[in-house]
Symmetry: C2
Subunit: 266 residues, 2 copies
């Protein structure tokens, strides 16, 4: 066997397998998975899967739900995830601003940080009584299908945008997703002038987002705030108002970061 690419020489394979297992459980239905499903999806014998699962159970990374047993994500992950998210500096700084925007707008407000041009949402505040969007945290999202992603791209030079677009390939998510680089650049040019970016059903049908980026002390984009709602609830005048509010919130974050906004025309 001379496979070198899939894992580096230094990768501890058992650990990588354990993480693949956790990802599999995370992507499976909430009821959990059975041991046989694990062994099948992981391509390993039942006894090997059993050992892995037992290890995860002992560490509370999984728990067994009767009947079945069906295995679900355990409380140790709640613990680690809580600590990890609390330690993200952006989260504490932005939390009160998220809460205020959520109250003012009655919408779901999220904050993303930048990861190589891609947005990674790190916190979310659902407005009371609002529609709940099942948006994951801690995942690198596509930059061209979300308002936050486009707000982040807008802070980069066009050449950089083209590089990122080439990397991820602008996959289609809905009928209205922008899948061509020129159209993306045009949309971002408009966003730069306007001061906020818009996602008009480009990620999910019927869902509308408004987002604005904030900047750190180097003038680099550190992330974006976004407001998410149902399109039918958002006439043009409301979007304009939302854009101003999100823009103001993002500028406030920039101030708290001790940052200065980069010139709009990059």
């Amino acid at each position: 066997m001379t496979d070198e690419d899939p894992v580096s020489r230094y990768t501890v394979r058992s650990v990588a397998k354990a993480f693949r297992l956790l990802s599999m459980v995370a992507e499976a239905p909430a009821e959990g998975v059975t041991l046989s499903e694990v062994s099948q999806h992981m391509g390993m014998s039942k006894s090997a899967a059993y050992g892995l699962v037992r290890t995860l159970l002992d560490a509370d990374y999984l728990y067994a739900r009767e009947p079945g047993p069906r295995y679900c994500l355990g409380t140790a992950l709640v613990w680690l995830g809580d600590i990890a998210s609390r330690r993200l500096p952006l989260r504490d700084i932005t939390a009160p601003i998220l809460a205020r925007l959520s109250q003012q707008t009655g919408l779901t407000i999220r904050v993303a940080r930048v990861d190589d041009g891609h947005p990674v949402f790190i916190n979310r505040v659902d407005a009371v009584g609002a529609v709940r969007f099942h948006t994951p945290l801690g995942v690198r999202e596509l930059p061209h299908t979300s308002a936050a992603g486009k707000a982040i791209l807008a802070a980069l030079p066009d050449a950089e945008i083209e590089r990122i677009a080439a990397d991820c390939g602008l996959p289609r998510r809905t009928r209205k997703t922008i899948t061509e680089v020129p159209a993306l650049l045009a949309d971002i040019t408009v966003a730069r002038r306007r001061g906020y970016a818009i996602d008009d059903e480009e990620d999910f049908e019927g869902v509308f987002c408004v987002a604005a980026a904030f900047f750190d002390h180097d003038g680099d984009c550190a992330g974006a705030l976004s407001a998410t709602g149902i399109k039918v609830d958002l006439p043009a005048w409301r979007i304009e108002e939302l854009g101003r509010m999100v823009r103001a919130g993002a500028d406030e974050v920039t101030g708290l970061l001790g940052g200065r906004p980069r010139d709009r025309e990059v």
Copy 2:
């Protein structure tokens, strides 16, 4: 070597080590840990620690913060923790009640589920502008030092309380921690009559908690709601009012669970 107790025959040791490493990082300062600290605390060579860390980095369970590199908990844990906590049935049910209580009281409201008589907090809503308590989620807490723990104990027969007390040994946390079984039983008897439990600086100096339990369809205690504040802000009349509000919130949760409250006198 004939050690059998520390790990069962089915434990995948590398994975257990990876989890110990994550716990270590979680308990270390927020700035992260260096490779040498890892190898020391884990009792393994630097090269072995390097392999583990590389594996965790590749999976985004850790990320390297410059300078140093110092290793911190990564976004994959935010992702998994978010999914895990969203899938806890109690969390969705109680979320709006937490938000309402937090607004009404201006305090931090938490919800715990039961794990063998111990409370495990699974969600928290900080009131805007309130003091932030650094209370972890997803961890089995001591039953006798928190209001939530005592509210949960109050739903158990005295014999069961004595067993749990013997298990964890009632360790002291502050000057006012109850460390003797008779005093604990007396405190819980009062809580049963009153309808809510109190933690009067028994876990942290200066911190006061009020909690009430809720019940599932079997009449078993499923968890508790608690309100946490600074003692100097809470005169007796306010505590009484808080107790009524928390009790009402917990009863509401009981209703949503399709449950019926167990008879107070167990």
